[in-house]
């Protein structure tokens, strides 16, 4: 599909939403990153946002999915799947049919394997580019999106990509709005039966609740008894720093500036 300038007013956005898991209680909720993705889509001007979910439909997951409806939607497309099924074929088919301009997902699911592979698999299957870890969508003009990617340490990177594109949302994206109870109750599920393919490999693995990881021991590797003793008796804070006494403020400032330049923190 060729992007046209005329399409910008009606930017079609599909947000893939999943059922999350509360980290403490383990109850079903709207997944945090997916909710951030919905918030991101809501903040786009002139966008037609559609919610898409592939998964099992039962009481708890329906309650969780209503959380997304409460963010200002009247309906949510649901591709019904059996438990533990591979949702990729169903999603790829649905996206291929709808062919939106922008697909927004979270980085990884809060249930199941949670490998974070789904957006990459979809991008490969549809042949679209993928941008990961988004903090914001700055603008969409003439079929080109300017995106702000979140980097570690609070840094941001600006990217430009031609639509259609799949983006994943980082935890640095704006926090989702609260889900309103009334719209959540009123919203409807538009269920369609998609292709279901079982995930046999997942079924063959041994899955158990995470146990705490062992703490790494501090191993002192010393050739001699003296080195071992020194390592055991040494204070945690070594006093090997350089101390400048009786210097003029300018000399001191120069020394600090040299260190800042070496560490490359001045911009």
């Amino acid at each position: 599909m060729q992007p046209e300038s005329a399409m910008t007013p009606g930017l079609e956005v599909t947000v893939l939403v999943s059922v999350g898991r509360h980290p403490l209680t383990g109850r079903a909720r709207r997944a945090d990153q997916d909710a951030r993705g919905v918030e991101l889509a809501r903040s786009l001007a002139d966008a037609q946002v559609r919610l898409l979910h592939a998964g099992m439909r039962d009481e708890s997951s329906e309650a969780a999915l209503r959380g997304y409806l409460g963010m200002g939607f009247t309906e949510l497309s649901l591709l019904e799947q059996s438990e533990g099924a591979d949702v990729l074929p169903a999603l790829a088919e649905a996206l291929d049919a709808a062919s939106p301009h922008l697909v927004i997902t979270g980085e990884r699911a809060e249930r199941g394997e949670g490998s974070g592979l789904l957006p990459y698999l979809l991008a490969e299957r549809l042949g679209w580019p993928l941008v990961s870890g988004l903090a914001a969508v700055e603008s969409v003009e003439d079929g080109v999106a300017t995106l702000l990617q979140a980097l570690p340490r609070g840094q941001r990177r600006r990217l430009k990509v031609r639509l259609p594109v799949i983006v994943t949302v980082d935890d640095a994206a704006p926090a989702p709005r609260q889900s309103a109870y009334g719209p959540a109750r009123r919203g409807a599920f538009e269920a369609t039966a998609g292709p279901v393919s079982a995930d046999d490999e997942w079924a063959s693995w041994h899955v158990q609740p995470a146990r705490p990881r062992p703490k790494r021991l501090k191993i002192v590797k010393a050739a001699s008894a003296r080195d071992r003793f020194k390592a055991a008796a040494a204070k945690a804070e070594g006093g090997s720093g350089q101390v400048l006494t009786d210097v003029t403020p300018t000399q001191g400032a120069e020394a600090i500036l040299t260190l800042l330049r070496e560490e490359d923190v001045l911009r």
């Binding site: 898991r21 249930r111 592979l117 990509v161 804070e237 720093g241």
Partner: protein, 422 residues
């Protein structure tokens, strides 16, 4: 002349026999220094206890009662540990294990080193058929000796195509490496620094189902690859035990880093240059972010104020000019000069900055706990005896107001010069 020490048994015998007429003379010769005893003018034997013994290889004084003082030339000859490590060279590897480290800031992080430790574990499992660890490094790096991390082969790609955010070009390079050497396993860090993304792209392109969030790998004869791994799933709430696939994305501390051997790190090259593919994603570079908006716990450069700061206007100005995130000690917060969310320390935020400048902070233990993981600490203080000076890598004793003023002037000057030159 060979460097082998030659022993003269007769001289050694004379050295042991204090009654021998040539005893003092021989000791002079062998002891390479002052004699420890001699006949005084009054006929008494005089002894110099300080001349007895020698300094051993570890810098401790040793007394050798046998009379021959071996190793008398002192402790300066001890070779650094790095050189004493045995060098391992694998000329004809049975297979390859490829590792793509993050190399954040051009250096191997702890996470990368753990990954190389894991790769060595996989490569060295069978001593009869050892594998080689191939590191694929993008962009320039600052590591002096990459072989220390356990790298047998090094593929260093430093062309402009793979610079910056270029996941598609990097993926192309990895695919080429896959076709050339077809490694038995690909190991990547499951991190936000690029490794997690690149690993997933590679796995999808190769049609493999990778293991993500791997934190433990164990040998298992029943598995197809001979290894089992334990991986975190479902936002860290599940442990998935499964056979180790070809591509694994591992968490930090998945294995012990290599510490006892050095490896050759022989340079490899791709058979043909990288194809210049048109990237669909255009990198417009990093955006300058407001340092005061960055969370204190993840800020890279923090300028922190304590009780010693008197000129608060000057401090805020300095933070703005340097582009540093502001922090504070508890005293400054309690006195109302700084906001509570800026407090660094055990009762505030534990920071992970690379550079931490402490202005007028004496260094209470709670504060020092909070800055444990900082790489470089700079202290500006009036008191040369305070704890912060002991912790600091660079300490300047003096009035903080004047030093900050001078620093601001210097930085402004440097910027001005740069602007003029440009």
């Amino acid at each position: 002349m060979s460097d082998l020490p030659r022993r003269d048994p007769r001289q050694e015998w004379i050295a042991r026999n204090r009654l021998h007429p040539r005893h003092a003379e021989v000791l002079q010769e062998m002891g390479r220094g002052a004699a420890s005893e001699w006949w005084g003018p009054g006929g008494l034997v005089r002894r110099n206890p300080h001349a007895v013994g020698f300094v051993g290889p570890n810098g401790v004084k040793r007394i050798d009662r046998s009379g021959t003082q071996q190793g008398a030339c002192g402790g300066g000859t001890a070779t650094p540990i790095a050189e004493r490590k045995p060098l391992v060279e694998i000329d004809a590897p049975a297979f390859m294990i490829a590792v793509v480290p993050d190399m954040a800031g051009g250096r191997l992080s702890g996470h990368d080193r753990d990954l190389f430790g894991l790769a060595r574990q996989l490569a060295d499992a069978d001593p009869a058929a050892r594998g080689a660890v191939v590191a694929v490094i993008f962009g320039p790096h600052k590591e002096a000796d990459v072989g220390e991390a356990g790298i047998d082969r090094l593929l260093h790609l430093d062309s402009p195509e793979v610079a910056g955010y270029a996941p598609e070009a990097r993926l192309g390079a990895l695919i080429m490496a896959e076709e050339t050497w077809s490694p038995r396993h690909w190991l990547l860090p499951d991190s936000k620094l690029g490794g997690g993304e690149l690993g997933r792209r590679l796995a999808v392109r190769l049609g493999e189902r990778p293991a993500t969030g791997v934190w433990q790998v164990e040998a298992d004869a029943e598995a197809a690859t001979g290894w089992h791994c334990t991986a975190r799933g479902a936002a860290g709430s599940l442990d998935i035990r499964r056979p180790l696939p070809r591509i694994a994305l591992a968490l930090a501390e998945c294995a012990e880093p290599v510490s006892e051997t050095r490896h050759a790190a022989v340079e490899l090259a791709l058979p043909q240059p990288l194809p210049s593919t048109l990237s669909r994603i255009q990198d417009l570079g990093q955006v300058s972010v407001d340092p005061s908006g960055v969370a204190l716990s993840e800020a890279e450069f923090i300028l922190s104020a304590g009780n010693g700061v008197k000129d608060w206007q000057g401090f805020h100005h300095a933070a703005e000019v340097l582009g540093a995130t502001e922090g504070a000690s508890r005293v400054a917060v309690d006195d109302g000069f700084m906001a509570r969310d800026r407090q660094v320390g055990a009762t505030g935020t534990w920071v992970t900055a690379r550079v931490y400048v402490a202005v007028g902070i004496s260094g209470a233990i709670q504060h020092l706990q909070g800055i444990q993981t900082c790489d470089k600490v700079v202290a500006i203080n009036m008191d040369p005896g305070c704890d912060m000076i002991k912790r600091a890598d660079l300490a300047v004793i003096g009035d903080s107001t004047q030093i900050l003023e001078a620093l601001v002037t210097l930085v402004a000057q440097a910027r001005e010069e740069k602007r003029d030159a440009a």
